[in-house]
């Protein structure tokens, strides 16, 4: 057998460790450099499913309504989550249009969809189609979903405008704040070891 399922290797310093069972809430850390090796997570499957479905509903709300409104001298202007992308595109900054669209809309959406896609079949005892590809995408896109950073951008924008004009938050903004919370919880509940431990899943299959 060439697979060493009892071992785990530290990503950061290459030290080999033997996997031991952990108690609830415990984290296994590398003995040499202190990097996190793995965590024991309870009910990961149900949590991730619930949170990613909630997240998708909030995502629709966050994109379907107005985000903020701005009023000055009797004139007002509203925006939505995606209008920054359009405005960058319209004014010739297509690189920024693509970047903002990817990291604030597409990648968070992909993150939610992939979590649901991977976990839903496992819940019903099946192996998701193209699991390997979906899993690799899920891991690769994770650092590029930047909704929480976007939220701070919103905060700075509000502060910058506050002495210039009246700003009112829209439905989308509230949904967006909830979505960030839900996505953080979902990603924290994600147990990648569970995905491969599921029924009918053999290494190499």
């Amino acid at each position: 057998m060439s697979i060493k399922s009892s071992l785990i290797v530290c990503h950061e310093c290459d030290l080999v460790h033997r996997i031991r069972a952990l108690k609830r809430g415990e984290t296994a850390k590398c003995a040499r450099c202190g990097a996190t090796l793995f965590q024991e997570k309870r009910n990961s499957l149900d949590k991730v499913l619930t949170l990613s479905i909630t997240g998708l509903i909030l995502f629709a709300l966050a994109n379907g309504f107005q985000f903020m409104s701005f009023e000055l001298e009797g004139r007002s202007q509203v925006n939505t989550l995606i209008s920054g992308t359009f405005e960058f595109w319209r004014s010739g900054y297509w690189e920024l249009a693509v970047l903002v669209f990817l990291v604030s809309i597409l990648f968070p959406l992909a993150n939610l969809c992939l979590m649901l896609y991977v976990h839903l079949p496992i819940k019903f005892g099946r192996r998701p189609w193209k699991l390997r590809l979906a899993f690799r995408l899920l891991v690769a896109l994770k650092p590029w979903a930047m909704m929480e950073v976007y939220m701070l951008g919103v905060l700075v924008a509000i502060v910058k405008l506050s002495d210039l004009a009246a700003i009112a938050p829209g439905v989308s903004l509230y949904a967006f704040v909830c979505l960030i919370l839900i996505m953080t919880l979902a990603n924290a509940a994600l147990d990648t070891r569970l995905i491969w431990r599921g029924p009918g899943l053999r290494e190499g299959s």
Binding site: S2, H11, H17, F67, L72, L96, Y150, G153, L161
Partner: protein
């Protein structure tokens, strides 16, 4: 288990799904998730340097050109990254000003400096304090993305403030360069392999 590295035991560990397997048993791909396997990230040092140097080059236009222009009652006022932070301080918005100062001014400089230091330390095979260097790398990788705050702020302002001559915000070329700095340093950090720090420490 004594302190053995996967390389010494000729084991391959998958970066993506954490599976450990005997070296050469897989034909280059992870037996479980199919990701490409390598004991050390390929060309780690030269790739990370190349991306870091590109980030340094973009750093100049990012700070010299305006990132946005606020046109208020017909008068335009271009803002660079630094002057944007200055306005927030002038307006007495200390917490937000401090946040933007950290994210837009301090974080990119720190990240570039730290990555350059770590790359140099690996390239010249220093064995000095491997654990501390690993921790510094870990922290650097986490805070880099927060530098995107300014880009998102601009994307909101340009979409919201467009009342023609009364008040309009336009993006400036500095914004593209600044986004490039952030993205390039993120890629550079991803190319850097912290295990190289330990390889040199073990030589002693």
């Amino acid at each position: 288990m004594n302190r053995m590295t996967a390389r010494k035991m000729s084991l391959d560990a998958c970066h993506v799904c954490d599976l450990v397997m005997e070296g050469g048993s897989s034909g280059g791909g992870c037996l479980r998730c199919g990701s490409r396997l390598h004991r050390r990230k390929p060309d780690s040092i030269s790739r990370a340097w190349a991306l870091l140097i590109a980030a340094v080059i973009f750093y100049l236009p990012a700070n010299l050109y305006p990132i946005m222009t606020v046109i208020s009652f017909g008068k335009g006022e271009p803002d660079t990254i630094i002057s944007g932070v200055g306005h927030l301080f002038d307006a007495g918005q200390w917490p937000i000003a401090a946040l933007v100062f950290f994210a837009s001014v301090l974080a990119p400089v720190l990240k570039i400096t730290i990555l350059a230091f770590l790359l140099a330390s690996v390239q010249f095979k220093w064995s000095w304090r491997p654990k501390e260097r690993t921790v510094i790398f870990r922290i650097t990788e986490i805070f880099g993305r927060w530098s995107m705050i300014d880009i998102f702020m601009i994307s909101i302002l340009i979409a919201l403030v467009k009342l023609d001559a009364v008040a309009t915000v336009e993006a400036g070329p500095g914004a593209t360069a600044f986004a490039a700095v952030v993205i390039l340093t993120m890629f550079s950090a991803m190319c850097f392999d912290p295990r190289l720090i330990w390889d040199n420490a073990e030589i002693e």
